[in-house]
């Protein structure tokens, strides 16, 4: 019977322990103090997230396994930093939003902490059982958060659609997982890799089930990353959810999906790369093309950003599809995926923060109501332009660097047509991003509502951080490139890669 060294385990799981304890403390404090409006609950949540964020940096370079199935390696460290950082920004923008729209502030903050925990768990699982449970934790927490505004029909509709899609896709994903389990007789990713790489075990037609298993599992992973055709929930859920939650779905939950893709495919099935890479290329092309084309006709800002984020998932997937194991340069696809995720975090969160600030002031998320925004909120409009530049991939912004990395990886892997399709798609996307810019700058504002838009300091801080991040990656990407490369280094430690 395996022995557990508890002191060491608690240290290895430091950020997760902090998040769990913090979430429980927030719940209890909320229960005892019954003060939904004060600064106490957001303060506690911020301390928890900040602590977990800072602690996450101390694990860089480690390669350990906690409790038999939680990998404490660089990939996990990367996603720990990404997840906690995302949630800090989300927290900053949700304080005002939650205060004005919900009576359950304490529960909201504790769920925010748990959803962060879920993202980390998903990224770190090296066992299908833990992976599935973490996936469900992430999903269920997200369903609840999407339906948080219980008195709004749109929020309810979003939650029920998200739930139905999610339940089906996770069921299909389980089919895929069960195929791998049946072949390997074990749920550990390492054992699955060993089964398929050992010629003595790998008998007969066992190989033939890998491709179906990959496709079936992609239904679940693609649901989280909103890959076409598993993206249909995204526009409705994004539109109906409380906007801070939408921001989280588009960044945190999507990052978790990519973490799983990287972890499962590269740890368990590296020898079948020819198969899954081809599947991923197809998904990538479909996703970015459809996302961009449908985004062209949107009139609602949240739906526009939803389709935009579908398209972005297509670009990110390109990096994984173009991954070449022998390539150790910085244009290795995995580093591209990770770098793109960081760039996307700042950019997309920034765009959502601007949308939230404007929504809080005007009560509208319709693109038509952005007319004349520059006169009412010049800073907000300016920041939104930078974020749109970045989403479209125009220098000197983070989006440009991210796209450079994944397109470069595609060219390195001699997937020239994939890179060309990516570029064409980027050009298409400029059209709808700049349609909004045109509204903001060149259309006359409606007669009433000339007063300037005000937003709380916390939101201004979050906006500034996103803006600085977006520009910094664009101008001086080196530290972020380093971080992405550190995250990639877990590959070198894989036994069967």
């Amino acid at each position: 019977m395996a022995q557990i060294n508890w002191a060491e385990t608690i240290w290895l799981l430091g950020p997760e322990v902090i998040l769990t304890v913090g979430a429980l403390v927030v719940l209890v404090v909320d229960f005892v103090r019954d003060d939904d409006r004060g600064p106490l609950l957001p303060g506690l949540t911020l301390i928890t997230l900040g602590g977990a964020f800072l602690l996450s940096f101390t694990y860089l370079g480690l390669d350990r396994t906690a409790l038999f199935m939680f990998e404490v390696d660089n990939l996990t460290s990367f996603f720990r930093i990404l997840a906690t950082g995302t949630s800090v920004l989300i927290l900053l923008v949700s304080v005002d939003y939650v205060r004005s729209r919900s009576r359950h502030a304490g529960e909201f903050y504790s769920l925010l902490l748990w959803v962060t925990l879920a993202v980390i768990l998903v990224a770190a699982s090296s066992d299908l059982i833990l992976l599935y449970l973490s996936f469900e934790l992430l999903s269920i927490t997200s369903y609840i958060l999407v339906g948080w505004l219980r008195d709004e029909a749109r929020s309810n509709e979003a939650a029920i659609k998200y739930l139905l899609y999610g339940a089906i896709s996770s069921a299909v994903m389980l089919y895929g997982m069960s195929l791998l389990y049946g072949a390997a007789g074990s749920t550990r990713l390492e054992d699955i890799a060993r089964t398929f790489s050992d010629p003595a075990v790998r008998v007969g037609t066992l190989d033939e089930l890998v491709l179906p298993a990959v496709v079936l599992m992609l239904a679940g992973f693609g649901f989280k990353t909103s890959l076409v055709p598993f993206h249909q929930w995204a526009p409705d859920a994004y539109e109906g959810a409380p906007t801070p939650v939408t921001a989280f779905l588009s960044v945190g939950s999507k990052a978790a999906g990519f973490a799983v893709l990287i972890r499962v495919f590269l740890t368990a099935l590296p020898m079948f790369q020819v198969d899954w890479a081809a599947v991923l290329v197809a998904f990538s092309i479909l996703t970015m093309t459809l996302g961009n084309l449908v985004a062209l006709v949107q009139t609602n800002m949240k739906r526009l950003l939803a389709y935009s984020s579908v398209a972005q998932a297509g670009y990110i997937l390109m990096g994984l599809a173009a991954y070449v194991a022998t390539d150790t340069s910085t244009l290795n696809g995995i580093a591209g995926v990770l770098l793109y995720l960081v760039a996307y975090l700042f950019t997309n969160l920034g765009a959502f923060i601007a949308v939230i600030a404007y929504e809080q002031a005007t009560g509208s998320v319709s693109i038509a109501d952005y007319a004349g925004m520059v006169r009412r909120a010049p800073w907000l409009a300016g920041a939104l332009v930078v974020f749109f530049l970045s989403l479209a991939g125009i220098p000197p912004t983070a989006g440009f660097v991210g796209k450079l990395a994944v397109f470069g990886a595609a060219i390195n892997a001699q997937l020239y047509y994939l890179a060309v399709i990516g570029v064409v798609n980027s050009v298409i996307s400029v059209y709808y991003y700049f349609n909004v810019v045109r509204q903001m700058f060149f259309m006359p504002p409606p007669a009433e509502g000339e007063e300037p838009v005000r937003y709380p300091q916390a939101m201004g801080l979050a906006l500034t951080v996103s803006l600085v991040g977006t520009l910094l990656i664009g101008i001086y990407p080196q530290p972020f490139l380093d971080l992405a490369n550190v995250g990639r280094q877990f590959l070198a430690m894989l036994p069967f890669a």
Binding site: M69, L117, I144, R150, Y175, G204
Partner: protein
């Protein structure tokens, strides 16, 4: 056929037939009853596989608690109870049928074609199954166990926030 195979076929027929009954019935209440039969069939399969403990827990938790709550919720919802003339299928059923049969034939083909590795002689026996299960939860599988408890807590909080009367 051995006795075991006969029991297996019976359990499988009950499970699949009830599942079919569940999705084709017009009444939500009757559908829930068919689902209970599905749970029973699955419990029988568990027992047949030597996991008697899991089988009984399946009955206790799914039939005894979850399904009762589902029936409770259905009986409390007059609009669900009150429309016996609701259409049985929506317009998309042919599409769904095609997709479902495609998935089914894929899985069946895979199961039949693949040379599955079979359990060796001397594989873990089922005596003391519950004991091993309990030990597993406290050692190798402690992390999934804890994650499951967090998941249930989150679901509980969510249910209260979303459903509670203000």
């Amino acid at each position: 056929m051995t006795a075991e195979q006969v029991v297996f076929v019976l359990a499988a027929v009950v499970t699949l037939g009830s599942a079919l009954g569940m999705v084709t019935t017009r009444s939500v209440f009757v559908g829930a009853l068919w689902m209970i039969a599905v749970f029973g069939g699955v419990a029988a399969l568990f027992i047949l596989l030597g996991a008697g403990f899991l089988g009984i827990v399946q009955i206790l938790v799914y039939i005894g608690a979850i399904a009762v709550l589902i029936l409770f919720a259905i009986m409390l919802t007059p609009r669900v109870m009150g429309d016996p003339n609701a259409p049985r299928y929506n317009r998309q059923w042919p599409l769904v049928a095609v997709m479902a049969s495609a998935l089914a034939s894929l899985l069946v083909a895979l199961v039949l074609r693949t040379d599955w590795p079979l359990a060796q002689e001397g594989a873990p026996t089922i005596t003391g199954f519950a004991v091993e299960l309990g030990k597993g939860f406290m050692t190798t599988y402690i992390l999934p166990f804890e994650v499951a408890s967090v998941l249930l807590l989150v679901a509980l909080i969510g249910a209260i926030v979303i459903a509670r009367e203000e």
